[in-house]
Symmetry: C2
Subunit: 387 residues, 2 copies
């Protein structure tokens, strides 16, 4: 999987430092959602078989593929039944969703499992949307959710996103998504003071706390009763295998993370090359644990700072050899995960796993999420050779 490189290819360390403090690209302000768009998939091409009981007063859905009632949850497409002339709609029905038919398995397509793809969106990339549209997972089982910050950048991203949505979700497009939800945040992007910029570590903490609240607002608002899987996908992911969802789900883990690389121009090789991108997926180290023990309650561990060498085992460097052709199904246990691409069973979230905006075991955001999931009995896994 490759992420969009929107900076000229510099020395890696400088690149990361720049990226970390680039407020326009990365900072999502927390706050209230002020704006909500709702798009959906609905036509009459495949009406599920409906048994009429009690003279039409009660309907039992024999398929979970579509809801036939008006207030169907956002994760299910609504299919309006076609009525013959003179036919009358039944009175408001009582709809029973038999949730024991909603599975979370290694065969999500075979079991028609709903996937919710969630993306905090600060900038819109056409490559992101192109890649999303190319996903081979059945689109009528995919719901999308976005949270976009307030302000000029956010307005632009919203507009660009809507333009692509209008085309993709056209009623004539058989490949459109089940539903799309867009949340707009109430807050402006916080301007980094020069002091903040000088202290990259504290700016990181603030940025990731804001990102945590944005992720939580998106998650709490969009997760529905029929959601089986949640795929967190960063807005700069422009290239994934088309079978990403089913590949990750086939491992049947509570939390699973592929490896993520960034394409860049390698000056030494004078050609395009890839380099590690997400440093938040790691296995814990005695050094990091020792650092945490000596920390004050409000301090957090962050990866990738020379002044805080953790010696953690980073998944970014676990890929077999240098040929990038190792077994893509090789699994490793992880203690921290990144949010670049992250597949989570909806039940992990339903148990209470969220993205702590405060230090949680000295961890924050996606890394804190992995720790919290562990507290809830779920183990995170990584696929070092799956890109």
């Amino acid at each position: 999987m490759a992420s969009k490189s929107h900076l000229p290819p510099p020395v890696m360390a400088v690149s990361r430092s720049l990226r970390r403090t680039n407020p326009i690209t990365y900072i999502l302000a927390a706050g209230l959602c002020i704006f909500f768009l709702y798009f959906f998939f609905a036509d009459g091409t495949s009406i599920p078989r409906i048994k009429n009981l009690d003279a039409g007063a009660k309907q039992i859905l024999s398929s979970k593929d579509a809801a036939s009632n008006a207030l169907s949850p956002p994760s299910l497409p609504y299919i309006k039944p076609k009525l013959a002339e003179g036919e009358v709609m039944a009175p408001p029905p009582v709809v029973h969703y038999h949730m024991n038919n909603v599975t979370v398995t290694g065969d999500p397509i075979g079991n028609r499992e709903s996937v919710l793809i969630l993306t905090p969106l600060a900038r819109f990339y056409d490559g992101y949307w192109d890649n999303l549209v190319k996903l081979s997972y059945p689109h009528d089982l995919i719901s999308l959710g976005f949270i976009i910050p307030k302000g000029r950048e956010g307005n632009l991203a919203t507009q660009q996103l809507q333009e692509r949505i209008q085309k993709t979700q056209a009623p004539t497009n058989k490949n459109r998504f089940a539903s799309i939800t867009i949340l707009r945040q109430d807050d402006e992007i916080p301007v980094l003071t020069s002091e903040h910029e000088r202290h990259a570590l504290s700016a990181q903490k603030e940025r990731r706390a804001a990102m945590s609240k944005a992720r939580n607002a998106l998650l709490f608002t969009t997760l529905g009763p029929t959601t089986s899987w949640v795929l967190w996908l960063d807005s700069d992911i422009v290239e994934t295998p088309a079978s990403l969802v089913q590949d990750l789900a086939s491992h049947d883990k509570g939390i699973i993370v592929p490896n993520c690389f960034q394409r860049y121009y390698n000056k030494d090789k004078e050609s395009m090359d890839v380099r590690p991108y997400d440093f938040n997926s790691w296995q814990d180290s005695p050094t990091a644990k020792g650092l945490a023990e000596k920390m004050g309650p409000e301090e957090i561990l962050l990866e990738g700072y020379a002044e805080m060498a953790t010696y953690r085992n980073l998944m970014a460097y676990m890929a077999d050899a240098t040929d990038l052709n190792g077994d893509p199904r090789r699994e490793v246990n992880l203690d921290g995960v990144g949010g670049t691409a992250l597949l989570v069973k909806a039940d992990v979230h339903r148990d209470g796993a969220m993205f702590p905006p405060f230090p949680f075991y000295h961890l924050i955001e996606t890394e804190g999420f992995a720790r919290m999931a562990t507290r809830l009995g779920w183990q995170a896994h990584g696929l070092p050779n799956y890109f």
Copy 2:
């Protein structure tokens, strides 16, 4: 506010001990939701004004009172437009919800704010439903959510609940609720071993961890984009002021808890009397903080155990004098809250505040929730004289 007393009136200490270890009444097993019922409020009596743009392809809702699209979120009632003969439904619309019209204020009725009432339900009491129906908050702004454990007791509760719902939600009843969601858990009620029963403290921890997961599953699944307030209400609450929601909301706090009493027969007075009921709403004490500091990371503080005297300031005992006629609007700050009746701004949850099933600052469930909300910048308040 009074809770249902379903035990003969014994000495209070014994009563609490019995209640705490009564598995049938109180234990909710965590797990997957297997069964989902959806009821809703829908008729054609008040169709909101809809502007037609782009030849009907795009509709803008001028009112947040009702959704006119098929996939409207569960927190909004769906009102199906009546079509004249020969009239054709517009193609699937793109519906914009302008969320800056969704407020959370001290005047929730005036601002038409949606309230989600959530109840973990192990036993169904007719008194609970009677009290719910008597609430004077506009019912078309109230959505209900229940989570019911698996097993025989849960089946019975589901059946009793459904019988009352069928009547209350009848299309002819103008006073019906906006929507009702019922989640059934996947797990059986865990049977307490005799060892557990002997060690009430550890049983408490297990019980409240299971309750936390049940609350989280209910919350994550039912919270929608238009929800302004969440009222947590225990299933044995059979008597509240009819104006409970608007009374609590008028304080305009992130988290607010009324005092809760239990009616019982006082043998000494030879008449019905009330006694304190919820001991989880408290102000912290130096003793409790000292206990927590000496605890291992997995230990939790619990209120009401002689072997763990916390000397916390319990709201149950803060009511003015004994005449129960103190100022009902008097507010106190709280460090822990109970879940008997608990009004929360939806944004507190959206920021990430959930019910920790694991020790969080040595607190669990609703008490841990209050601590987590504090970490997210929200202060809990109590109303010692409001019953």
